[in-house]
Each structure stands twice: as structure tokens, then as C-alpha cells.
Amino acid sequence: MNRASLLDLLKHPQRTTALSPSGWTEFIATARNANLLGKLAQRLHEAGVAVPAAPLRHLEGARLLSERQHHSVAWEAQCIDATLAQTDEPVVLLKGAAYVLGRKAAGVGRLFGDVDVLVPPGSLGKIEIRLMAGGWTQMKSEAYDQRYYREWMHELPPMIHVRRGTVIDVHHTILPLTARSHPDADAIIAHSIPLPGYRSLRIPCDEDLIIHSMCHLAHEGELHNALRDLDDINSLLSEHADSPDFWGQLGDRAEHHDLAAPVALCLMLARQFFDSPVPESLVLRLAGADSAAIQRLARLYDAAIAPNPEGQPPLRSLAAQLLIYIRSHWLRMPPRLLVQHLSRKAWQRLSLASGASPKNEQGA
């Protein structure tokens, strides 16, 4: 199923009643690969659409899984809060966990894995030690990986809880330290909103929540979740579409975070893919002199985001995906460091492929 049909059915769940059995097959497979099955299931459920029994099993399964994950993330948040409350530091939830616990429409039906948090840079050591005392442990033990995360990226290496198997990513800024843009992480923390019922947990104010989501999408090299992310962005934007001051504040905030161009790009994409009610004046203001370049970039994303359960996307999409992958690294690292990093990774992959015996996880 192509992107336009998928988006059309996401926007108009009632139109699924016209699908044939093979149409349902493609629709469910495409939505699953785009990581949109849970959201789709929730929308069909809320719209009260009558779905044939066979695809309904997949939709209800995804809906139950997302409900279960939302319970789990609430419990995980309790555990993180209990562990970190003694540090007296603000702990700001990001992305999926923030949408769900902040009760945003973007969280409804959303499936996700890790919990991402943002903390003040000065508190990292304290927080890492508290987490380790609370049962979290390092997942990446190699010295190079440790250095990659700590020195060049914007987070501690991911930590996994020894009993629950849950993963937490602790960030101290929202882009790598080596990146070209320098968003103001301190301001995100300063403007964050406490989550009722928790001692240390907070979520970003709505403008920052949206800008972070956009920043993430515009710097991400792999686009498997791009449609899901744009759907998140569309949901977040739509909550404020009617408030007159919102768009101006979003623009101010994007400029403050040194993210005018990425935000302009994502606004264009949200409007193009999801008909988000974005005012043209805001796009023009943020794109500024780079307007033509950002439009070219938007066309590249347009070509690259091609959900396709049948495997090989067209060559044009592959080329666009490769360019975006290269660009994402370009944005995150200065060229010399980038060459070093990629050759190091390629070498690791090569020695893994030729040496190690395959580790099969075949299960039963």
C-alpha cells in the first residue's frame, strides 16, 4: 500500500469499510511496518468502524499491547521517580513517555520501548549512580561505545534494569554536543511542567515538546518511524491549532533553540502529509533566507518516506534515504570525527561478520 492510501485511511477510518481482504492485508502490514498499527487500531475503535474478524485480531492485539505498554510506562515512571527523587534534580520525560503520562493525543495507541529523560548536565554523575543503585546497569560495555555516547553524543549509554528489563536513556541535551545546532536544554528544563503525583518527574511545555519531536525527526538518519513521528507532531500541533498565540510562541521558541530550519522543515512535512493547520506565515518566518534549500529538503523527505511492505522501495526512495542518512551524520558531527566514527563502525561490522559464529535466536 502506498503512503497516500495509508495516510488517507488514517485520516478517514470510515473508508476502511471499502477494503477487500487483500486490501486489509496490505493496510495492516504497511501500518505495522510504519509503527502505526496501535494508533490506527485506537482510531478505528473510537470511530466505531466495523472491521472484519481476521484483521480485527491484529488491530485489537495492537490496541491491547499499547494499553499494556502505557500501564508499564506509568509503573516505570513510578520506579524512576522513586529512585531519583532523592537527588532533588528535575527529571524531564521526553517523547513517548511524555505524551502518554502528559495525556497528549499523540500518546493514544502509541507503541514504544525505551524511556527517554532529560536532566541538567551537572547532575549526570549523581543520576547515573542513583540509577545503578536502583538496579539499572550499562548495556554497552565496550570502551569505544562508552566514549561515543559520553563524549560525542548527548546521553549516557542506555541503561537496562536488571529485573524488569526496561531501558532508560538519560540525555543532558537534546542534540549531540558535536552537532551544528545548539538547542537550549536548560530552558527546556526551566520551562518544564511538573507531572502531578510525582516528585521529580516533569514534562516539557507543549512548545518544547513539539520542537523536540521535530528536532529529533530532522536529525534522525533512519526513517522507519518518520510517519509515526509526523503523526505525533500533527496530533500535538492540532491540540493548539485554535489558540491564537500558539503559532507565534512556537516560532519564538524554535528561534530560541537555534532550530528554526528543522522546525520549518517539519512544519512543511506535517502540512504536506497530514494537512496540519500550519500558518504559511510561520513557515516563511522560520525558513527565512533558507526557504529554497528547506523546500528541496522537504522534497527529499517526500521521496524517502515510502512505506512499502513488499521490500524493495523504488531507487529514488533509496537514494533519498541514503542522502538523509548521510546528512543526519553531517549535522551531528564535524566531518573529521564523522569519518573516524563511520570507519570505526564499518571495521567493527566487518570483523563481526567474518569472525563470530551466528548467534541464532530461533526460540521454540
Binding site: 477487500s20 481482504p21 487483500s22 486489509w24 492485508t25 502490514a29 505495522r32 511496518n33 472484519p52 481476521a54 484483521p55 485480531r57 491484529h58 485489537e60 492485539g61 495492537a62 491491547l64 499491547l65 494499553e67 499494556r68 500501564h71 512499502n308 511492505p309 513488499e310 521490500g311 561478520a353 551466528p358 548467534k359 541464532n360 535466536e361 530461533q362 526460540g363 521454540a364
Partner: protein, 293 residues
Amino acid sequence: MVLPESRVLDTTLRIAPFVVRVRSPFASVLEHLEFFYRDCEKPKTAFVDFDVRLLPGLGAHRFWRPQARFLVDDQNPFLPLPVNQAAPMFEWGLNWTIASRSLGFVVFHAAVLEKNGNAIILPGFPGAGKSTLCAALCHLRGWRLLSDELAILDPVSGMLIANPRPISLKNASIDIVGQFPGARVGTRYLDTRKGTVAHAAPNRDAIEHASQPARPRWLVFPQFAPGEGHQVSPVSHAEAFALIGEQSFNQERMGEIGFRALCTLLGNVDCHQIEYGSTSDALELVAQVTQQD
């Protein structure tokens, strides 16, 4: 080994309770399906639950160590295996898919068989002799096979759902089962991660009645102990719950629904452990527990 372009496999099978499309250029996969799934319906137009492909491996070592990849709906959950294991990889991959996809069922590792509407569940701990016993109950005592590997529990009805597929045999059990009357054992695959592997076909009866679920009635933990004599001992419901939980692929993910479904299941079954040194002992103990001949 690889089929000519015109004969490349592309078939859609009703492997209850699912519809599975299988595509592959490997002759071994085609032969596997023709041998083990010949009695399955091939629906012309149906919703496809799992779109499976077994394809040649990528990368340079395809020239000196050809491999097979398993894809389901374009996702690639496993590392590739040697190409001669493409057919067993189909079975392993389909097991993984059924166990890991969220479809509203509680799935745990056990053989399930039915007689007179009542089901016996044989949870599968490694080396317990579950598959041999399962094949013996089918071929020697006329039980209907629901599944040799996956107990699929519907939380709404509390019933067990049939997924009749080849019984997976390892090493010594291959020859034992091969001698059962009516048993059809397929190709042997040497040197897999599990040793030598082969499959025994389910009876036609199991395929024909696959749409009939069965009511859970007995939960029996088999324990093969050569030379130890044989005995039945009761297992408490609490212990059985913990043991089943260990064998569950998705009970945790099913949350409260999964927990309640397993509680209901345990409320309706008698739980026993059987220890035996031979297949005939095991059959006698099962007859004793179930009061079925």
C-alpha cells in the same frame, strides 16, 4: 536446490487459525509444504495474517556458505541459517511469529491434544519428551493434535485454539516416532542448533477439525527419566501457574488479560507431573490421569 523462475513458490495456506502466504525460491521449502501441508485449504481471496518469505542470504559469503533468510511482513527477525535448513527455519520462524505477534491470545510453549472435547496440555521443558509423547498420543491412542509447540489460549472463551502443524522431532525420537503406525516423517536435517531435526506430519483428522477449539481439562508436566520407573504426582495450582508462566511467550505483554486467562485455565484443569522411562509407561500414566484409553 533453487527452483526455476516459473516454479518459484508462492502459495497461501490456511494454517488454522491463521492464513499464511509463503514465498520462496528454495525447492526444499516447496517439498516441505507439499509433504506436511498437503491437506490445508488454499484460499483464493483471504486476509493474510503472516506474509512469510524464505530467501537466499545476502552478502559475499553467499558464494561459499549459502544461507537462507526468514522474513515475515518484510521484517527480518533472525540471523540467517545455512541454506539446507530453510524448511525447518519456516517452522521456527512461524512459531516465533505466532508467539510474538500481539493477536489477543495467550501463547505458551506446550503440546495440546484433545479427546472427546477435552484437552490435555503438556508444557515443554527441554528434554521432557513432550514431542515424542505428543506423537505417541496421536498415533497410538487416537488423540487429536492441536499443536506440538504452541498452546494458544483465547482469553475470551477460555478455549484452546488448534494450530495443527508438523510435530518437531529431535535426535533419538525421530526413529521412535517413525515406527508408529501411520506416522509420516519427513526429511532429516543434520547439524542444526538442536542436533538432528525432523518433522512428523499431523493426521488429516487434525487438519480437518482444526476449527474446533478444545476445553482445557488436564495439565500434565512430562518428565522423561530413563530407568527410574514411572509415577504420577499431583502439582499444586500455584506451582503450575509459576511453571506455565516460565513457558509463556507473551503472558507478561498480555497484562491483566493474560493473568486472568491463566488463572481461569488453572481453575479448570487437574495438574499432574508424570515421570516415565518409556513411551508405553507414559501412555499408561496419561490414561490414568485422564481416564481415557
